[in-house]
């Protein structure tokens, strides 16, 4: 079997010839908006991870003498109706919102991919499976999520399940579409001809080629999940207080909006910046990874 010598590889590097991976990063970094999106997302992820260290106060510590104070050096985002430091609460809120977002992405990617692979590869199952997915997509996402939360009860885990169920059909459709196109390609025929079993073809040959649209979809689902979690918390169907989430800080601040508008301003901005970052990153990734979706 012919192998490529190190000298050839080095020569390629020296000539500036690129591998697909290097090409991907170069094209991604060429897009200023994508870089901005990735930077914003990275920043929010860092804030979420470091929140307990960065928060100047205990986000749950009540201090009635400091209630409803406007932004100041002492409390950069002001305080809420219990005198809790809003800056600390928004930082900790990032943790919960992003955690839910990541879990929803993992949940939908795992199950959505599996369902999409099966539906796309086995024509007999396709009709049944995709009808079920279609029927789930017939529900407005947030309404279905609220209904599932009402049944399961408010908890962080249940939010992930509810949003996962809502967004699985989107992922499965994207994967199924890719599988339908890929399974007719020559290299799959060749693998089948060489005696490869279905499992091997699906996971070793088809799945790696579905990753581009899957990554793009996952980025957008991350953004949807953060918006949806905030919406659920806002109407009281999200993770229960006192754990601060951007949605329930907003919900609690609503009653004091006239006297303390900062309580709703800062968590809203945090949601907007995070979702904007993810949308920018998603747009950039889509342009680089899957130009057909543009």
């Amino acid at each position: 079997m012919p192998t490529q010598s190190h000298s050839t590889v080095d020569a390629e590097k020296a000539d500036g010839l690129s591998s697909p991976r290097r090409d991907f990063f170069r094209r991604l970094l060429d897009s200023r908006l994508a870089v901005l999106g990735l930077a914003l997302t990275g920043l929010m992820v860092m804030i979420a991870i470091l929140a307990p260290v960065l928060a100047p106060y205990d986000p749950l510590a009540i201090n009635i003498t400091h209630r409803l104070q406007g932004p100041s050096w002492e409390h950069p985002f002001g305080t809420d109706n219990f005198g809790r430091d809003l800056f600390s609460r928004v930082l900790l809120g990032a943790r919960l919102s992003l955690k839910v977002g990541v879990y929803v992405v993992v949940f939908t990617s795992l199950f959505g991919t599996l369902i999409g692979l099966i539906a796309g590869y086995y024509p007999r199952l396709d009709n049944v499976v995709m009808r079920v997915m279609d029927s789930l997509m017939a529900f407005p996402a947030i309404l279905l999520a609220i209904a599932i939360m009402a049944a399961l009860g408010p908890s962080e885990f249940n939010v992930v399940i509810a949003l996962g169920i809502v967004y699985i059909p989107r992922t499965s459709r994207v994967v199924r579409g890719s599988v339908l196109a890929l399974k007719e390609r020559d290299f799959i025929e060749a693998a089948r001809g060489a005696g490869a079993r279905d499992g091997r073809i699906l996971f070793l040959h088809i799945l790696p080629n579905c990753l581009s649209p899957l990554i793009v979809q996952a980025t957008f689902i991350f953004a949807y999940a953060i918006l949806a979690e905030a919406g659920l918390s806002f109407v009281g169907a999200g993770p229960p207080p006192p754990t601060p989430s951007w949605g329930n800080i907003l919900s609690e601040g609503r009653s004091y909006m006239r006297v303390a508008p900062w309580i709703t301003l800062f968590p809203g901005l945090a949601i907007a910046i995070t979702v904007l970052g993810l949308n920018l990153a998603g747009d950039g990734l889509r342009d680089v990874l899957d130009p057909r979706l543009r």
Partner: protein, 314 residues
């Protein structure tokens, strides 16, 4: 055409059945005994057992579904525990307000989104294009309820121009009705306006690159005719898809925006029902809104064929 419509309507039946199954199963995914959960911790075992009997929870699942769907098909969605009245009546009472809000939001979304997208496409890479696209990107990133809260702060609390909430039927007092509708409709429609603007721009750009547009221009046709008549008509197909989907999203999104503006639609009913664990209301609202969504999508599909004769009926 008639055959096409009949075939599409028949194709809806399995989707509607599955929508009904999902709505039905809602009560059955409640962890533990649904009757005990609905009645709360104060209920006696006798009360729980009575509710189990009333809801038919002691029957096998398929029997329960058969009974439930038979009632649903007769327009009976059960009774609300807390309101003590039929769910169908409560939902139908509030449906006009929610539909009005969703339609008004869609109106805003199309009114802002389509022209913004067209202008951005015509002036591609100009400052206007960048401004529209940045605004659209911000638009898809803002939660509707946060936009709503800020609108209340600006236009109700500070400027005192518009009421911070409520609902007046347009047939009762048109001006007051509009004043109540303006902010919730804008808050709800803004994200969809952004999505429609993005889709319109990319769809228009694709069409504007086509040969027949160059031909139309070289024939000396006015730019307005080329863009408005030749390009827009063909660019409308993907835009219509987004608009069709938008209506369903708006019906769902209304749940949250109605809460912000104390707007008495189905959304507020659902939120109250979630807090009271009034499952028949949640189940009924889910079924009703989703069925409307499915039917709107059917209408959009039929509209495609009217707009674009290239779409074959089979």
């Amino acid at each position: 055409m008639g055959v096409y419509i009949i075939r599409r309507v028949l194709g809806l039946i399995p989707v509607l059945i599955l929508v009904a199954v999902v709505s039905f199963l809602l009560i059955h995914i409640i962890p533990g005994d649904p009757a005990a959960v609905m009645l709360g911790t104060d209920a006696t075992p006798q009360e729980v057992e009575k509710l189990r009997e009333d809801l038919g929870l002691n029957e096998p699942l398929h029997v329960q579904f058969y009974r439930w769907i038979s009632r649903v098909l007769r327009g009976d969605l059960g009774d609300s525990f807390f309101m003590g009245r039929p769910v169908t009546v409560a939902l139908l009472e509030r449906l006009p307000a929610t539909i009005l809000l969703a339609v008004a939001a869609l109106f805003f979304a199309v009114l802002i989104g389509v022209p913004a997208g067209i202008i951005a496409a015509i002036k591609q890479n100009s400052i206007i294009d960048q401004l529209v696209m940045i605004t659209a990107l911000i638009g898809v990133s803002l939660p509707s309820f946060w936009i709503g809260l800020n609108l209340i702060l600006i236009f109700s609390v500070n400027l005192r121009w518009l009421p911070s909430g409520g609902y007046v039927p347009l047939t009762e007092n048109f001006i007051d009705g509009l004043r109540c509708l303006l902010m919730p409709a804008f808050a709800l429609g803004f994200m969809q306006a952004a999505l429609i603007a993005r889709m319109t721009r990319s769809s228009m750009l694709e069409v504007l690159r086509q040969d027949y547009i160059r031909t139309a221009r070289s024939k000396g046709l006015a730019e307005q005719v080329v863009v408005g008549l030749h390009a827009l008509k063909n660019a409308m197909i993907p835009i219509l898809t987004v608009i069709g989907t938008a209506f369903g999203v708006l019906l769902g999104g209304a749940v949250i925006v109605e809460t912000v503006f104390a707007y008495p639609g189905i959304g507020r009913l659902v939120v109250a029902a979630v807090q009271r664990r009034d499952y028949p209301v949640i189940q009924g609202a889910l079924l009703l809104i989703s069925s409307i969504y499915v039917l709107v999508n059917l209408l959009v599909d039929i509209l495609y064929t009217l707009i674009d004769p290239r779409i074959k009926y089979n």
